[in-house]
């Protein structure tokens, strides 16, 4: 045992020496390194587009990208962010799985002089702990949908809410909007459930079950495109008409290209954009920070909405993802 301990100590000594040595070797080629803590790799089409956008934009701007994926685990994301701070990336972009629990990372980044940029989802941090924010205002997106629905002037409104991953800020914001909207406008929420993940499968099962139990509904409020597609599959199978000319109005979020095609085809009534193209915005933000310009701290991404009545082929074609 004693031998073992001494061996361990000796080795510790050796590699701390090596460590000092290695530090000197640390190179600095002047390239800006951006560390990105992404959530899951491809939990949905939106996420895939999001990842792609950042990778491409950073590469085009001549930044070095260091993207890590949280594997769906909050604690892993934190550990990875801490690692990126130690690695001394020049900017740290965080897309948090959870909005809470990031103070320690933010403080560490601040101490190390690394600007922290929140993207996609807002983190619960006090103003002084982050440099900038490029986020989607999920509640505002939901409110847009509510306003649109109000404008439809329907006699009765029976809504099926297909929620996203429990507790993610997208789910929280969008659910909050519709719940409040329903309360103020006297709409009836028939079903309100979070589908684990953002997938078609569970959404489809849920709607199939609803149809089978004979519950009446005329609005599907699906918190992303994939779930809306799952719900449509279910209605297809039961012969329920939906979309522009159907009985059920389908509201979706994210506005992927394929979803816009569905809007164009009149299958979805409304798709509210949640722009995944954070790459270019982050690039311009970082570039102005580099120049020492003052940047606006809290930026919410401008988001459009696409109504089946007004959408054109040109809009769909312009969509890159």
């Amino acid at each position: 045992m004693k031998k073992l301990v001494s061996m361990v100590l000796a080795l510790m000594l050796v590699f701390s020496l090596v460590a000092c040595d290695a530090k000197d070797k640390a190179k600095d080629d002047g390239k800006i390194t951006v560390g990105v803590v992404q959530t899951n790799a491809n939990e949905s089409d939106w996420r895939t587009a999001n990842t792609k956008s950042m990778n491409e934009a950073f590469a085009a701007a001549g930044f070095e990208t260091k993207m890590v994926f949280g594997e769906g685990d909050h604690a892993k994301q934190i550990a990875q962010a801490q690692q990126l701070i130690q690695e001394e990336v020049d900017y740290l972009v965080i897309l948090g799985l959870q909005s809470a629990g990031w103070e320690d990372v933010a403080k560490a980044a601040k101490e190390a002089g690394i600007p922290l940029i929140m993207a996609d989802r807002e983190l619960e941090l006090s103003e002084d702990l982050y440099t900038a924010m490029v986020c989607s205002d999920f509640e505002a997106e939901g409110v847009k949908a509510v306003d649109w629905l109000k404008a439809q002037n329907m006699d009765t409104v029976d809504i099926v809410v297909l929620g996203g991953d429990t507790g993610s800020s997208a789910q929280l914001g969008r659910s909050k909007a519709i719940e409040e909207g329903a309360a103020t406008n006297g709409w009836n929420i028939v079903f309100n459930q979070n589908m684990k993940g953002w997938d078609e499968t569970l959404a489809k099962q849920a709607v199939t079950d609803l149809i089978a139990s004979g519950k009446e509904f005329n609005v599907i409020y699906a918190e992303n495109d994939n779930m809306a597609r799952g719900a449509c599959d279910a209605m297809d199978a039961a012969g329920i008409t939906y979309g522009k000319d159907g009985d059920v109005k389908v509201i979706a979020f994210d506005a992927n290209k394929w979803a816009l095609e569905k809007v164009l085809a009149g299958e979805f009534n409304l798709d509210i954009e949640c722009n995944p193209l954070h790459g270019p915005r982050l690039v311009s933000l970082i570039q102005s920070l580099e120049k020492g310009e003052k940047v606006e701290k809290n930026v919410y991404v401008e988001e459009e909405m696409f109504d089946a009545e007004t959408i054109t082929q040109a809009i769909v074609d312009a969509r890159s993802y």
């Binding site: 510790m12 090596v18 460590a19 594997e71 769906g72 690692q83 809470a100 629990g101 993610s168």
Partner: protein, 358 residues
């Protein structure tokens, strides 16, 4: 040694046998522990050499390894104990999530403070441990299915208490959890020339104290040794006068208690709670124990091994992060490959040792 020939016909193998016996002075536990520690050192040293510029050259990186894994260390200790007795507990992730959410709700809404929430955390953990312990030890139900129920219960209760993500909004608690130990004279200059003092979280100190305490418990107390005896051979343990049922029960109770402490440390570190909190934590803890040289068949294991198992797992995650990859699938595949390597290594070593001793 020659007087120990069991039968004349193996006499000619005496030389070899003597050698083997001399080499086998190491107990299984120490042998596996040595492997784990050397592997950790090798991996970390390699990381320092090849990834020094990716942060591994920094001392804080080493401390971060502890900061990020304090809770896991404590929870893995608990799992090592039940695994030493030849049982398993997959409910720890669930109970951790429950502890986080329950404590935050109480801290934010019911005027709990640091101490009362700690007591709540311990009570939840212990309740899981006691209940599962009774079912496993006294009703002789399979540990897997019992703790599966525990896992479901923990996760489900979180959703019943609070569906949304929540964060601690309790000034006292936040202040305590934000506190750091600044280690004098240690630190790194970053490339901007800022000197960063090395910092350690208080949770790490707690975790290390617990590691030492559990080590002493397993090594120095009769209860600790009976865990090993029960795991090694329950029948023999019974014959030797050990109360096997009570020992099993206590192992689960202790694991529950440690999960309580671990859960609290988790909360202390993240200050947030959600339904998905600590997903897969049980598997991380189990694999840390395995890498640390605990055999799932029972009877063999060392808490320091578990500590190094957790650190090895953490290091691998960091290495994978440091290397970076455009393809998101490599981290998990790498970690699984490492797990596979350890498991097969253990299996081969154990079967070879078994063959030798026969």
């Amino acid at each position: 040694m020659s007087s120990l020939n069991e039968a004349p016909q193996i006499g000619r193998f005496d030389g070899i046998k003597n050698k083997l016996m001399r080499r086998e002075k190491l107990t299984d536990t120490v042998f596996l522990l040595t492997i784990t520690i050397s592997l950790f050192i090798t991996i970390y040293a390699l990381a320092v050499i090849f990834l020094g510029d990716k942060g591994f050259g920094k001392i804080q990186m080493f401390f971060n390894l502890f900061n990020e894994n304090a809770a896991l260390i404590v929870i893995a200790c608990g799992l090592s104990i039940v695994m030493v007795t030849g049982s398993i507990d997959i409910s720890v992730g669930g109970s951790t999530a429950l502890i986080c959410t329950a404590c935050i709700v109480c801290l934010n809404n019911y005027g709990f403070n640091f101490l009362t929430s700690l007591i709540l955390a311990l009570a939840i953990g212990l309740a899981f441990g006691l209940f599962q312990g009774i079912l496993i030890a006294y009703l002789e139900i399979q540990p897997f299915i019992v703790t599966l129920a525990g896992m479901f219960l923990g996760r489900g209760l979180v959703a019943l208490i609070e569906v949304n993500q929540i964060q601690v909004a309790n000034a006292g608690f936040e202040k305590l959890s934000a506190a750091r130990i600044e280690i004098p004279f240690l630190g790194d200059y970053n490339k901007k020339g800022i000197f960063l003092q090395s910092k350690l979280e208080y949770g790490v100190v707690v975790a290390l104290i617990i590691v030492v305490l559990i080590f002493l418990l397993l090594r120095k107390t009769s209860l600790g040794r009976s865990f090993y005896a029960v795991g090694g051979n329950p029948q023999s343990a019974l014959m030797l006068g050990i109360n096997v049922k009570r020992t099993r029960f206590l192992a689960h109770a202790l694991c529950g208690l440690l999960a309580g402490i671990g859960g609290f440390l988790y909360l202390f570190h993240t200050r947030s709670g959600s339904v998905q909190q600590a997903t897969g934590l049980e598997m991380d803890a189990i694999s840390a124990s395995i890498i640390g040289g605990t055999l799932l068949t029972g009877g063999v294991g060392n808490i320091f091994g578990t500590l190094f198992g957790v650190l090895t797992g953490g290091t691998v995650l960091l290495i994978v992060t440091a290397i970076g990859s455009q393809d998101p699938w490599w981290p998990q595949i790498t970690r699984a490959a490492m797990l596979c390597f350890f498991i097969i290594l253990q299996s081969v070593i154990c079967s070879r040792k078994r063959r030798k001793s026969e």
